[in-house]
């Protein structure tokens, strides 16, 4: 029923504040965890960098799936486009400056986002899922065919990025790549925080909840989703470029259905519709995979499967989503 003035109303008022505490907390958390990772696992930086790159892909899926409600099993197309974009720029055009490579990756990702958006947004539900599958297979096949440019199934090797800012070489320990990845992640995270709170972010959330209402407001739902697809392409493209720069090789796996499906699983595992969910899902899945596959590669698939089932049974909103609910209940209980 109607709630008059009570504490939750006053609690809501600080929305007016200019300063975004949520972003600050997230920022501090990323930096603390990132730095801790650097010192706790100094010999695993390559793996951590890889986690960051995939995290960018998962964040990018969250933009279209979590915030806009588009189901996709083909999002690696955007990631792979970024990776190949940056890689081809380096190998065939001699663009080896890492920042420029990243920008090229972002643009390639945005283009791939535009193309897949145009196709995928033509249907809903299961047919949409199938369109996304078709898109990723077409991208994969195209890259396989264009082996003169992409190296085909042998992979695109020979990417040799310059020193970052002319000072920091991409070294054996992967320190530069890791720190660069961390910085990219922070920039993207802050950018996305701004985006999801922005008018456009509200519009996108609205488009997921009730597209008819959005069009009754005079906004074209399709255009909103397509723009979001392009933005998500930028994010995924940056992730792809980071892979190309840090591993110096790009394989067809970066354009695969497997990667698309795996990263969607990571997102759902963490919880859709929140940036933290996407990041937590990636870390937990990849960490779990690394741990289990090192311990017992012959059975890791069974254990990963069991993990996924357990999450559906006991944390149906994903790890972050369900965690937030439990925390909220706990707080509510105290009040």
């Amino acid at each position: 029923m109607a709630v008059s003035m009570n504490d939750s109303v006053t609690a809501g008022l600080p929305v007016r504040r200019k300063f975004d505490t949520g972003s600050l907390i997230g920022l501090v958390a990323i930096i603390v965890i990132g730095v801790a990772g650097y010192f706790l696992f100094p010999n695993n930086l390559a793996l951590l960098t890889r986690i960051i790159a995939i995290m960018l892909l998962v964040l990018s899926i969250d933009l279209v799936t979590g915030y806009c409600g588009v189901a996709t099993l083909g999002h690696a197309a955007l990631f792979g486009a970024g990776a190949y974009g940056a890689g081809i720029a380096a190998v065939h055009f001699g663009i080896t400056e890492p920042l420029t490579m990243t920008v090229v990756g972002a643009i390639a990702g945005a283009l791939a986002g535009l193309i897949s958006g145009i196709v995928i947004l033509r249907a809903h539900g299961l047919p949409q899922l199938v369109l996304s599958i078709a898109v990723i297979h077409l991208f994969h096949e195209a890259a396989n065919k264009a082996s003169a440019w992409t190296g085909g199934s042998d992979g695109l090797a020979g990417i040799a990025p310059d020193a970052l800012l002319g000072m920091f070489q991409f070294d054996l320990w992967g320190r530069t790549a890791y720190i660069y990845g961390l910085v990219l992640l922070i920039v993207v995270f802050l950018g996305l925080r701004v985006l999801v709170r922005s008018p456009f972010g509200m519009l996108a959330r609205g488009a997921r909840e009730d597209p008819i209402r959005i069009s009754a407001m005079g906004a074209s739902v399709k255009s909103v989703l397509l723009r979001m697809y392009v933005i998500s392409g930028v994010v995924a493209g940056i992730g792809g470029a980071l892979t190309a720069i840090s591993t110096q090789v790009v394989g067809l796996d970066s354009l695969s259905f497997t990667l698309s499906a795996e990263s969607l699983v990571m997102l759902v595992l963490g919880g859709t519709g929140s940036l933290y969910g996407a990041m937590i899902g990636t870390v937990v899945f990849m960490w779990f995979e690394d741990l289990v596959s090192a311990a017992n590669p012959f059975h890791w698939l069974t254990m990963v499967g069991a993990l996924l089932i357990a999450v559906v049974l006991f944390a149906p909103k994903g790890l972050y989503g369900s965690g937030a609910v439990i925390l909220g209940r706990f707080k509510g209980g105290r009040k």
């Binding site: 109303v9 922005s198 456009f200 509200m202 209402r213 005079g218």
Partner: protein
């Protein structure tokens, strides 16, 4: 000289079935028109034709002298033809403030911005406050919509329509589902609608119709059978015939 909003010779057939039959009407600035009719008269189809969700078989629709028959639903909204919904369509995880802000931003063509927060845009905030105050929703402005009462959600529907500053507003049963005790608030809100706005209200509640409308149009079996003053409507033989039996409440309310 043309009317603000005009529908001429509108027809819609589904297969062999004619659902809208040669409907014509026109409205000018400040009009308060009620569209009534028994169930199955074709009101919903009419709304869908006007808002652009259905394509008419023939006939045309004009807004401010411009033919909008071929325009799609969203561009009609942008041209100033706005509707509200019979069943509340709101974003349950957003606050009323966010709803209205989004509508204002959309109207101002600022909803595509990927930076900034509406709270940091004073002119937007001022307008949002103003509308929420006008409709008595200020106290709820930071609650999630799922937490507020249905009557208040209906008010928010009206608030959203106002925020879009339409030229013509189609109100689809604004009081539907609202308990009798709260209809007064809805009525009150309708009074606050800008006086130069042309309003076409589809409504079942005859009390509301008579208090609000200056003119009543009766639709039956897809055809307009009456267009005139609220006083005259109950006297009209064809209207009585159309409603007889099928809509006993109407006569009692009249």
């Amino acid at each position: 000289m043309s009317a603000l909003f005009e529908v001429r010779g509108l027809n819609k057939n589904f297969g062999g079935l004619t659902v809208t039959n040669n409907v014509s009407l026109s409205m000018t600035t400040g009009d308060r028109v009620a569209l009534i009719g028994p169930n199955g008269a074709g009101k919903t189809t009419f709304v869908n034709l006007v808002t652009g969700h259905l394509k008419p078989t023939s006939g045309d629709i004009r807004l401010a002298g411009q033919d909008i028959t071929g325009a799609n639903a969203t561009s009609r909204v942008r041209m100033g033809l706005v509707r509200s919904f019979q069943v509340t369509r709101l974003f349950y995880d957003m606050t009323p403030e966010e709803h209205v802000a989004l509508a204002v931003l959309q109207r101002e063509k600022r909803s595509g911005r990927v930076m900034g927060h509406y709270a940091g845009m004073p002119e937007v905030m001022d307008e949002v406050r103003e509308i929420l105050e006008l409709l008595g929703l200020v106290e709820l402005s930071h609650l999630k919509v799922r937490e507020i009462a249905y009557g208040q959600q209906r008010l928010l529907e009206i608030a959203l329509a106002m925020a879009l500053r339409p030229k013509v507003l189609l109100l689809d049963e604004p009081a539907a589902g609202v308990p009798q005790s709260e209809t007064a608030r809805i009525e009150h809100a309708l009074d606050k609608l800008p006086s130069d706005l042309a309003v076409l209200m589809i409504e079942h509640d005859m009390d509301l119709v008579f208090r609000f409308a200056k003119r009543v149009i009766v639709l039956a079996a897809g055809t307009i059978i009456f267009d005139g003053s609220p006083k005259a409507v109950t006297q009209d033989a064809r209207v009585r015939e159309a409603y007889l039996g099928s809509y006993a409440n109407a006569s009692s309310a009249a």
